[in-house]
């Protein structure tokens, strides 16, 4: 008995009970479809998190000044010796794995342009800040390092600031605004970035040369943050260690924890993707259970089939079928149900994923892995749950089976 004959016989048997076969298959179809849909939606959300993180600059390393304790009281961030421009220069000189490093000075300032005014955050940084933060320019251009050196009163503004001060469709490049009463020339407008990780508006910013912000707006010499970017995501951890070593030397501390904090985007991205991984695993697990329930449906119907066809089994044995032949026949039937269900389920799952993606605007990524997984799993389920009923058929005693009423 070859495979072709086995398939022919089982297809014929399944066709005799089309509706029953379909209902049995439905369990597998729903199981496979939901596993694929869940994995696709999960993978999609993971991808969108990853892409939004890489928009932020996935190689980004941020250094904040540390906290100081006084008599057991933690005074919070920024209470130890502040970071200084010398620290930035030391990092620049000694760290080999960095693409760029910039000090950041931050100020909350009132902006005035004509008759409008608006409060926003002003960031002062070097010219390479735009590369480090992966910021694109919508119109105009970024300021240069020589602007930084001579503390030029130029700035770039985010789209929210443009809207508030000049109106939605205005292009204010070349105009001037006053930041805390100091007039600045707008040299560029930043590309829109949307909401950030914590829901903050990333377009509500003004970026100006570091020295200008420090002298004109803050009147201090400290550095509030240091931003750096690693040469690649792979070396970001090593780069972080380099910065840590340099700063420990600079600040003369033995433990990095107290003096400063280093955060990397890859940390954040790992955390977020592990959260979404947990969700995906959970959802796919639930969907997987429905696949197992579908398998039990197959087992149930195979038992019914075996009992119904006892006389046929007896006859086949009487004309020379061995136990093996009978076992294979019923196993093939179960596997045909589960594989067909798997194929239909995979198509349905892809359809549902794409449909959801379009309808709800969810990010959806269909991976070949999820299809192979669901498909392979359903085949295994057919074999596993088909085995026992098939075994029952194969172990029948020919003469008892023949006489079965």
């Amino acid at each position: 008995m070859n495979t072709y004959n086995l398939l022919k016989i089982s297809l014929k048997a399944l066709r005799k009970n089309t509706f029953r076969t379909f209902l049995t298959m439905l369990g597998i179809i729903i199981g496979v479809a939901s596993v694929i849909a869940m994995l696709s939606i999960g993978q999609g959300s993971k991808d969108s998190i990853e892409s939004s993180i890489s928009e932020l600059g996935s190689n980004l390393i941020m250094v904040f000044p540390g906290a100081q304790r006084m008599g057991g009281v933690n005074l919070g961030s920024g209470t130890s010796r502040p970071l200084e421009i010398g620290d930035v220069e030391a990092i620049e000189e000694n760290c080999t794995l960095l693409e760029g490093v910039t000090p950041v000075a931050m100020a909350q300032a009132q902006l005035i342009a004509g008759s409008s005014n608006w409060s926003s955050s002003v960031y002062g940084a070097y010219a390479n800040y735009f590369d480090i933060r992966a910021l694109d320019i919508k119109s105009g251009s970024r300021f240069s390092q020589s602007d930084v050196n001579r503390a030029a009163k130029v700035c770039l503004i985010g789209t929210t600031v443009v809207e508030e001060l000049f109106g939605e469709y205005a292009d204010p490049v070349g105009q001037s605004i006053r930041i805390n009463k100091v007039p600045f020339k707008i040299v560029g407008v930043l590309e829109e970035k949307g909401a950030g990780m914590r829901g903050e508006d990333q377009d509500d910013v003004v970026i100006a040369p570091f020295s200008t912000v420090q002298r004109r707006l803050l009147g201090s010499t400290t550095v509030q943050q240091i931003f750096a970017s690693a040469k690649s995501e792979d070396v970001s951890e090593a780069a972080t260690e380099e910065i840590e070593a340099v700063l420990m030397k600079q600040l003369r501390v033995s433990s990095a924890d107290e003096a400063f904090n280093i955060r990397t985007m890859s940390e954040l991205s790992n955390m977020l993707s592990s959260t979404s991984d947990t969700m995906v695993t959970l959802l796919a697990g639930v969907a997987g259970i429905s696949l197992i329930v579908g398998g039990i449906g197959i087992m149930n119907i195979m038992f019914v089939t075996v009992t119904e066809r006892t006389r046929e089994i007896g006859l086949r044995m009487a004309v020379g079928a061995k136990s093996k032949n009978i076992l294979l026949q019923f196993l093939t039937e179960a596997v045909v149900i589960s594989i067909t269900g798997g194929i239909i389920g995979a198509l349905l799952g892809i359809g549902v994923s794409v449909g959801f993606g379009n309808l709800m605007g969810w990010p959806v990524t269909i991976t070949p892995f999820s299809i192979i997984l669901a498909f392979g799993f359903s085949t295994l389920i057919g074999m596993f749950f088909g085995w026992y009923p098939a075994r029952k058929a194969a172990n029948m005693i020919p003469i008892t089976a023949l006489r079965y009423e």
Partner: protein
């Protein structure tokens, strides 16, 4: 004459829990090549049990069964399946055909379990077997489209297709009217004349008289074993019967 089946001192006891039923209590029989045997007996006489044992569908509690010089009494399930496949052809009272399957596919069934036969040979042999029982024009009819007599003829073709050593028929005419029964017996007689060994279990004496040898079972033992004086020719008998024009065949 070659001995096809030799049974010696066969005992078969069914253990039904509280009671033990002794279906066969020491049966010795030889069936030779070219025999046409009717096994007679009341129900419970052990005739069907004997038939199942020589058909390798069941094994004796003790004793020896030789089929073509193989002692099958202690054969494994798979070895018995091979013997059934190659040496024995079964015909049952209730035909036991696969429903909603064509006559040809039903006849092909035993060959399907014989790996030595190719698909082309299978179809060819099955077609010839169906022609032999007069159903050459009904190859692709589904079994539920055939009359009782035609269904039994498909079953005979199925029993013939593997060129068995012996054809075993358990009450082959039990479900048929007299006229159709005689038609079926006519086919068996024809096959026997062509050299086939046939064993029929029946309780109808007129059917038994169409066979060459009668064996009577009673209470698990053979009580009579004799050659029929002048076997009735089924075809001649059929010719004598009034035509049943109103019955659709």
């Amino acid at each position: 004459m070659n001995t096809v089946i030799r049974a010696s001192n066969i005992i078969k006891t069914f253990d039904l829990g509280e009671v033990k039923v002794r279906a066969l209590r020491g049966v010795d029989l030889e069936i030779n090549e070219g025999d046409f045997v009717a096994i007679l007996g009341h129900s419970g006489s052990g005739k069907s049990t004997f038939m199942n044992i020589i058909g390798c569908l069941d094994v004796p509690s003790s004793g020896e069964v030789y089929i073509d010089d193989n002692n099958v009494a202690n054969y494994s399930r798979d070895k018995l399946a091979t013997i059934r496949n190659k040496k024995i052809g079964f015909v049952f009272q209730s035909y036991n055909l696969l429903s909603r399957t064509t006559a040809l596919e039903n006849v092909e069934l035993p060959l399907l379990y014989n790996p030595e036969v190719s698909a082309v040979e299978r179809a060819d042999l099955s077609k010839k077997a169906l022609e032999r029982v007069g159903l050459g024009d009904r190859l692709s009819h589904l079994t539920n489209q055939l009359s009782g007599g035609q269904q039994q003829r498909v079953a005979i073709a199925r029993a013939l297709v593997n060129e068995p050593l012996v054809i075993l028929a358990d009450e082959p005419t039990g479900n048929l009217d007299t006229r159709t029964s005689y038609e079926i017996m006519g086919i068996f007689q024809e096959l026997n004349e062509a050299g086939k060994t046939i064993v029929i279990v029946t309780h109808e004496t007129d059917i038994a008289k169409m066979c060459k040898r009668n064996i009577v079972f009673k209470d698990g033992k053979v009580i009579k074993d004799f050659m029929v004086d002048k076997p009735i020719n089924a075809k001649e008998e059929l010719a004598k019967m009034p035509k049943q024009e109103d019955v659709l065949v």
